[in-house]
């Protein structure tokens, strides 16, 4: 299968971003590694900001869409968060590069302006609100839970958590549930009843949904 030049650029950019970081990768690097001349690359992506915005966000958005589906199908909060964590961690197995981009963009590695508009934390927040948690507590609980997951991923990449990453699914789920339980108990929210979650909840501004 031959790749078009645009596909080559995207593939190379994803690899270089995860190897060298988003900050240090230049358009020149991508051109020379992919073998696509810089002039042609510039036609697709005139500058790095455009490139990161298009590629990084596309990777992020695709993965986020899949995680949103998981949340929509969940039978309970614990089912939803377990599915989300399992999916997030498994991207490392399927594509370590995409996993790194997901993590780096989610952490706002570059500058805050590259944070996707709707992040994993937002997804988690909307999910908790749908189950009846107040906005204030949902914002913090989602932030703390994604903090646990991100920190686990970061430590894994740094070699500080030695087991295969998917083996941390249960522990991360238990940790997130301990946080959620604390806040839902405060508010007497039932975490286990399946709620019908309307799709618009997660895609408020997207007319195609």
């Amino acid at each position: 299968m031959t790749l078009t030049n645009k596909e080559k650029i995207i593939k190379t950019a994803i690899t270089l971003f995860s190897e060298k970081g988003i900050n240090t990768t230049t358009l020149d690097d991508i051109a020379s590694t992919s073998g696509v001349p810089l002039e042609e690359l510039s036609k697709f992506f005139p500058d790095k900001v455009t490139l990161i915005t298009i590629i990084g966000r596309e990777v992020y958005q695709q993965n986020l869409n899949k995680m949103t589906e998981i949340m929509l199908d969940a039978d309970s909060i614990s089912d939803g968060i377990r599915g989300l964590i399992k999916f997030y961690l498994s991207t490392y197995e399927t594509s370590p590069e995409e996993f790194q981009i997901l993590l780096l963009l989610g952490l706002g590695e570059h500058t805050p302006s590259f944070l996707p508009e709707f992040t994993l934390t937002d997804l988690c927040k909307v999910f908790l609100i749908a189950y009846g948690l107040s906005e204030d507590n949902a914002v913090f609980a989602a932030n703390a839970a994604i903090g646990v997951v991100n920190q686990t991923c970061l430590n894994f990449i740094h070699g500080r958590l030695p087991k295969p990453i998917l083996e941390y699914t249960d522990q991360c789920t238990a940790a997130c549930m301990a946080i959620f339980s604390y806040f839902t108990e405060l508010e007497n929210v039932d975490m286990n009843t399946k709620k019908h979650l309307p799709k618009e909840l997660f895609f408020p501004d997207d007319p195609s949904q």
Binding site: V139, N143, A144, V148, Q151, N155, R160, A175, A178
Partner: protein, 186 residues
């Protein structure tokens, strides 16, 4: 002769604002009033300087936190103190924390000798958690605290760290209680 302290001070601010890789010798020269060549003589690249800064600030923060172990009379009390001390320190020295956060994401893994997570593991070990549990629990607690800092810096959370001290403490305690109940079950 250049004053290394002065270079380190200027570099820290630049690292925190724009990252380690994008900071140039020219910018440090501009902010210190030194010649680029003189800065080059002191530091061949900025990674060594970043590593030095990282070790220095982590040591400071961890020494500070170590004292909490002696003044806290229970694990819950220790966690309360921990969150509070980090909240105050972060608000007083936001630049330093911005820099530490940037280093944590750096792909070449400029790593401090001792991290906050190592400290957390040590502390939890003292309170009776086994090695494996302490490692993961410390990871989670620091995850909560670091994500709070990150979200305040990038505007995802409104307000100051100290507005969330109580929630952060409760979330950490919820984790600890969950893991302690497992510990007793064994």
């Amino acid at each position: 002769m250049v004053n290394k302290e002065k270079i380190a001070h200027a570099a820290l601010h630049l690292f925190a604002e724009k990252g380690i890789d994008t900071t140039t010798f020219e910018e440090v020269a501009r902010d210190t009033g030194y010649y680029v060549d003189d800065i080059h003589l002191a530091y061949s690249d900025f990674y060594q300087l970043a590593q030095e800064l990282l070790d220095k600030h982590f040591k400071e923060i961890i020494n500070n936190l170590m004292q909490l172990l002696t003044v806290s009379d229970s694990l819950d009390h220790f966690i309360q103190n921990l969150v509070q001390v980090i909240a105050i320190d972060f608000e007083q020295r936001t630049e330093v924390y911005k820099f530490l956060l940037i280093s944590a994401h750096h792909p070449t893994h400029i790593m401090p000798e001792v991290t906050l997570i190592d400290f957390g593991r040590h502390a939890l070990g003292i309170y009776g958690f086994d090695e494996r549990q302490a490692a993961f629990l410390s990871n989670c607690i620091m995850g909560i605290i670091v994500e709070l800092i990150r979200s305040i810096l990038n505007g995802h959370l409104q307000g100051k760290f100290s507005d969330y001290t109580e929630e952060a403490t409760d979330a950490c305690l919820a984790l600890i209680h969950h893991f302690s109940s497992l510990k007793k079950g064994v």
